[in-house]
Every structure is written in C-alpha cells, then in structure tokens.
C-alpha cells in the first residue's frame, strides 16, 4: 500500500488502526461488565443504565466531544486532576482520540455482548456453581467462553465504527497530523486544501475497504454461537 498512499496518508491510516484498537480493547472490560449487569441482574435502575449506555449512540458526536472537553480538558475536573496527579493528558493527544472513539462505540460492544449473554442458558452458570465454581471462575470458564462470539463480533463492529469516528475526535483533540489526525480527519483536511480531492478519494477508498472487511468479519463471528 506504500506505493498507493503517501507517507502522510499512511500515517493517518496507521494512526486510525492504533486509535481504534486501543479504544476497543480499553472499553471491552467495561462493556463486558455493563452487559453482565444489564443482562443478568433485574434491578430498579436497569432501564436508566441501559439508556445512559446508549447515549453516545444517539447524541451528536460533536456533543460527546464537547462533553469530553469539559470533563477531561486541561481545565476540566478529571482532566486537571489526571494531569496534576499522573501527568496524563488527553487533549491534543492520540489517547484522547482513543477515549472519544471508545466512548462512541461503547454501546455497540455492550449491545453485542448483552445479546450473546441473553442467548446463553443461565442454568449453566447455576450448574457450574453447584460444581464449586465461584464468580470469577464462572466468568472466565463459562460466561466469557459462551459469549465469545458476541464479544468478538461486538469488538470487530466497534473497531470498524471507530475507524469512521469524526465529530467527537475533532472536537475533543483537534486535527493534528501524526497525532490525532485519523482517516476521516485526514479526508476532511484534504477536502479543505485546494486540489486535495485525489487524496480524499484515495483515503475514502481505503476507508471503504476497511469497513467492508471488518463488518463482514463481525457478522461471521456473530453467527458462530455455541449451541
């Protein structure tokens, strides 16, 4: 692909893959726990938790980016604390782009895992309990293996969606080549500059290919449920 893409475009592609991979991996444990909470426990606030989890899916990404800026920005409560206590900064950094992507694609992961959990027989967990398996044991050896197709499918779909994230990233961490400029941001930048249509078209083609590959992979994974 080196001949096809310029070094700058290659950088945007690699950054996109890196941001998405980190976003999906970091969000996965939280998505699993949230899905477990919603699927397995009937509690009063379940509806509220479900609604909150789905917020990033329906809110304008720009609004999510803005909220992230307010909370995790240099002067935001969490952002300022992280910077002072640990020297961690999200704004204007690729990690901020990953945070934004993780948040936006979180509902996709929760949804896929939750459906997989609901399709598995809760009686198997009971059987495991009577055979001496505690909570963590059951999570590792029964729950996760049985929900694995859902987990994989959710992760792949989230990864593909994350590659396309634009609004939240550009609002939260701006459009810095080599740092926060992922594929969609690079396409946007190319369109802003005179004569950039060819670059935009190339990046667009790459995006389409990536999306096709990962969405197909996600669907294949979802179909492989244990019966």
């Amino acid at each position: 692909m080196n001949g096809f893409l310029s070094p700058a475009e290659m950088t945007a592609l690699m950054l996109s893959l890196q941001v998405s991979a980190v976003a999906v991996a970091a969000a996965l444990p939280f998505a699993l726990l949230t899905a477990l909470l919603i699927a397995r426990h009937r509690f009063a606030g379940a509806g509220v938790v479900d609604a909150v989890v789905h917020l990033p899916l329906v809110l304008p990404p720009v609004a999510v980016g803005y909220l992230l800026l307010v909370v995790f920005g240099g002067r935001g409560p969490v952002g300022a604390w992280l910077w002072e206590a640990f020297g961690i900064r999200f704004v204007f950094s690729w990690t901020g782009a990953a945070l934004a992507s993780a948040l936006i694609t979180f509902p996709l992961q929760v949804r896929a895992i939750r459906l997989a959990l609901e399709a598995t027989d809760a009686g198997l967990g009971e059987a495991a309990r009577t055979l001496g398996a505690g909570w963590w044991d059951r999570l590792c050896n029964i729950t996760v293996p049985l929900a694995l197709p859902g987990i994989v499918s959710g992760a792949i779909t989230a990864f593909a969606a994350s590659l396309g994230e634009f609004g939240a990233i550009i609002t939260f961490v701006s459009n810095i080549p080599g740092e926060t400029q992922t594929l969609p941001l690079a396409i946007y930048a190319a369109l802003q500059s005179p004569g950039g249509e060819v670059v935009a078209a190339r990046l667009c083609a790459v995006s389409i290919m990536l999306a096709l590959v990962f969405v197909t992979a996600g669907n294949l994974a979802a179909r492989r449920l244990w019966r």
């Binding site: 009686g123 009971e126 309990r129 009577t130 055979l131 001496g132 398996a133 044991d137």
Partner: protein, 354 residues
C-alpha cells in the same frame, strides 16, 4: 447422612411450607409436578434463597435465615438437573472433570475409571454435548456430579425429559449407584416406579407441603396412605438364592421366598422387587395346582375400604404387603383383621430391576 429441611417461601399464589428430617441414604421427594419439589432441591443446593428456612446436611448448617447462607459453590452438593446442563463449549471429558478439578477432596484415577466404566462413558469422552443423545447427556451429567465428590447428590427429576426407553437405560445406573456406593442422595421424582426402585425414605410433597413421610417399604404399602398418592404396592429387598434349571430365579426376603423369571445377576446379589397391590390375589385356603409360582403365607393387618375396592394390608414375616381386591371378594371371603391368608403372586407380574 442426615438432612434437615425447613422452608417457608412464597411465590405469587404458591406457598412452600415444608419441614422434614431424614436419615435415609436415598431420600425421594415424591409428588405431582408443581408441588414444589424442585424448589426444595434448589433451596438445598443454595440456588434459591428461601424467605425463611433452615437447611442442615450432615450436621453442617447451610442455610439459616436471616443470618447464614452458604453459597452453592461452597456447599459441595452436586446437582443433576432435568435438562442435564452440560457445558456446550467443553468436551465430555472436560465436562466430567469440571467439578473434579474444583473439588476439595479429589477422586483418584482408579475411581474415575470405575465411574466412567459404571456409566459406560468410555466412548463419549472426546465428543461434545451437541453430539450426544438425551440418555448419554443424562449419564454424563450424572458422572460430572459424581466426580465432584459431593457430600450429597441432589437429583432433580434426572429422567423426566427422557422417553421410556432412555429412562430404562439410565435407571439401572442409578440403581447401581444407590446400591454400590455410600453416597447420600436426595431424589426428586413424580414417577412411583423410580422412587420404589431407588429410595429408602419417601417424603410426599403436595401443594407445597409435606403430606406424608416414611420408609419406602412401609409407606408404599400402607393402606392408610391417602388414595393414589403414591400408588399402592409393596417394595422389598430380596437376595438372589438360586438360578433354577426351570428358568426361574429363587429370591429370599424377610418373610418368605419368591420365584421370578430369570434375573441376570449373580447369586447373593440384592435386588429390589415391587409387588403392586393389584397383582396380589388372596386365598383363605392354601391353593394347590395353580399356575402362579408364588403362594405367600400372610396374616391380615388391616382392611381399608376405598371406593369400589378394598385394600388389604398383609404381614408376611417382617414384610408389609398389600393387596387390592373388590369389595365383593372381601365380603365373600369374610376377611377380617388378624386372619391368616395366602397371597398369590404370578411370577411374571413381579416388577423387578434388571
């Protein structure tokens, strides 16, 4: 092993309110579907937390509301569920060893091999649950529970989802388990033949309450038991004395001798025999020249009219038998309590284990 259960729990309109204690090695919870038997098993296993209750197994208090509740994973009571509940992502071998790997006291290689042999699982070890028949699944589920080395085995209608042929395939395994191991069991069933073949003690559950409780030899043959629950019939443990040249097997029990069609078990083996009340004929004088092979000398302990028929309680040595005859026959023979009679049993009607 002793088991003490006292439970009060409400589920919608259904109220479970039971209390019983048993020292039987195999205790059967018997009763119609929806009586609350499975709830009791779930409570003993710790899968259900009763509103009020106390559960003690072998002197270990497992539930005592509201202050104590031992979680199921710490109870060491393995459950065999009606629907097997094998782990679909594990081979039969991994399913079998799931509880074994987590057991505090692990069965050694020899006893694992014995169990695999007893349940006929050799050929299945590398298969997955989706490739097993219903009967095979039930056997694997039983093996998995046994290998966890539980203090007590809880069986929740393990045969109910199987057809008659599969049931007959699994019952002998359960019987061998009940005879050849010292493992205490709590067995839930609504099939009287399963209970008669396996249990020492019966607790009859109806509508969330204990209706009756007693040793299987007494209760199943008790004419005072409420009509139809459970069906009347004597249960006796007999010893194989001789396989005769004429094709009959001679059994001895505490009260006499019984001839049954050939049993393919070694001399000296213990077999359980059930004599249904309907299959016992009564005679005042000792009958001769009849086709029936068994004429047992008994005395009448009680006579209980029940609708158009009469249930006659018999004592045959130390064994309790029961005969169901018509009211007309009872009147014609002028049967009375304490009277000596002969019970006639056709060998072919003896319900026996294989």
């Amino acid at each position: 092993m002793s088991l003490e259960v006292a439970l009060k729990h409400r589920l919608g309109d259904f109220v479970l309110d039971v209390a019983f204690a048993t020292k039987g090695r195999v205790t059967a919870l018997f009763g119609p579907s929806g009586a609350g038997k499975s709830r009791i098993i779930a409570s003993v296993a710790g899968l259900m937390r009763p509103r009020q209750g106390r559960i003690v197994v072998g002197g270990r208090v497992l539930t005592e509301t509201p202050r104590l509740f031992v979680p199921p994973e710490a109870r060491r009571l393995a459950v065999v569920f009606q629907d097997s509940r094998l782990f679909p992502h594990m081979s039969v071998d991994d399913n079998l060893k799931f509880g074994w790997r987590r057991a505090a006291v692990k069965a050694d290689a020899a006893s694992i091999a014995h169990m695999i042999d007893l349940l006929g699982l050799e050929g299945l070890l590398h298969r997955y649950p989706r490739d097993l028949s219903g009967g095979e699944k039930a056997r694997v589920a039983l093996g998995r529970a046994l290998l966890a080395s539980p203090e007590m085995l809880l069986l929740d209608e393990p045969l109910a989802s199987l057809d008659a042929a599969r049931r007959d395939e699994i019952l002998p395994y359960l019987e061998r388990l009940a005879r050849e191991t010292a493992l205490p069991m709590l067995y839930v069933s609504h099939q009287v033949d399963e209970v008669a073949r396996l249990a020492d003690e019966i607790v009859v559950i109806e509508n969330g309450r204990v209706r009756l409780q007693g040793p299987v030899f007494e209760l199943l043959a008790d004419v005072d038991a409420p009509v139809g629950v459970p069906p009347l019939g004597a249960v006796l443990d007999a010893i194989i004395e001789e396989h005769q040249a004429d094709g009959l097997t001679r059994l001895s029990f505490n009260g006499g001798v019984l001839f049954v069609p050939s049993l393919f078990r070694p001399d000296g083996a213990q077999v359980r025999v059930r004599l249904r009340a309907e299959d016992l004929m009564l005679a005042i004088e000792e009958p001769r020249a009849i086709s029936a092979n068994n004429v047992l000398s008994c005395s009448i302990a009680a006579i209980m009219p029940a609708g158009d028929h009469v249930d006659v309680q018999l004592r045959c040595g130390a064994t309790r038998l029961v005969s169901r005859i018509t009211g007309a026959s009872a009147a014609r023979l002028k049967l009375a309590s304490g009277q000596p009679v002969y019970a006639v049993v056709k060998a072919v009607t003896v319900a026996r284990e294989g």
